[in-house]
């Protein structure tokens, strides 16, 4: 299971956190707020291996090019997050779907 695996697969998660901590302060702030938002929204893409690490890849590139984080993604950070997960159903969607008929087939 997604986040649990990531956090419990401690080595991987710790490496990820270490990469976040190596980012410039403005990037760290934005990354953390984004992650918090994404945890609340709960897109099923969170369970994939590439959503959060992909953001860090992208941020590392921007930082290396000497850009500020808002210069990179624009000031509407929420819109950026929503774009990232535009095609991903949320856990809430999956749950709601499981309520509307077909109990037990909550797979999309």
């Amino acid at each position: 299971m997604g986040i649990q695996d990531m956090i419990e697969g401690k080595k991987q998660w710790r490496a990820h956190v270490a990469r976040v901590k190596a980012l410039p302060p403005d990037y760290q702030i934005v990354y953390k707020e984004m992650q918090r938002y994404l945890f609340k929204v709960g897109p099923t893409d969170l369970a994939g291996e590439d959503l959060l690490p992909g953001i860090v890849d992208f941020f590392e590139e921007g930082a290396a090019a000497g850009k500020g984080v808002l210069q990179l993604i624009g000031s509407d950070v929420a819109a950026f997050c929503d774009d990232l997960i535009k095609e991903s159903p949320t856990y809430a969607d999956v749950y709601q779907k499981s309520l509307n008929g077909n109990p037990g087939t909550d797979e999309k």
Partner: protein, 108 residues
């Protein structure tokens, strides 16, 4: 021109496909191209979310290459599915723009 964000939604993806269709390229270069074209509101983050979707939907082939500054960079080329999607985009675009033009020209 400013304030195009809403209007560009849905067409930007086609623009990115077109740019990638021209030659192998990467996120920052695509953003620059769009900015030079006059879409000055487009930031790298927007392009990043589009590239992520193109990759997920299997429309591009991605190669990581080392860069002179910072971490490796992802380069994109269209695959067959991507070329089909691009052709479909232009067909839709032509339809929409011709309909809107005829609306402006008024009833005949």
């Amino acid at each position: 021109m400013d304030g195009l964000t809403e209007m560009l939604k849905g067409t930007l993806e086609g623009c990115v496909l077109e740019i990638i269709g021209g030659e192998e390229t990467y996120g920052y270069a695509i953003t620059r191209r769009l900015n030079e074209l006059g879409f000055t509101d487009v930031v790298e983050g927007t392009v990043y979310t589009i590239l992520l979707r193109l990759e997920r939907n299997g429309l591009v082939q991605v190669t990581k290459r080392p860069s002179e500054v910072g971490p490796p960079r992802k380069f994109y080329v269209l695959n067959d599915a991507g070329r089909e999607e691009l052709a479909a985009f232009w067909a839709k675009w032509q339809y929409v723009s011709s309909r809107i033009d005829s609306l402006k020209e008024g009833p005949r």
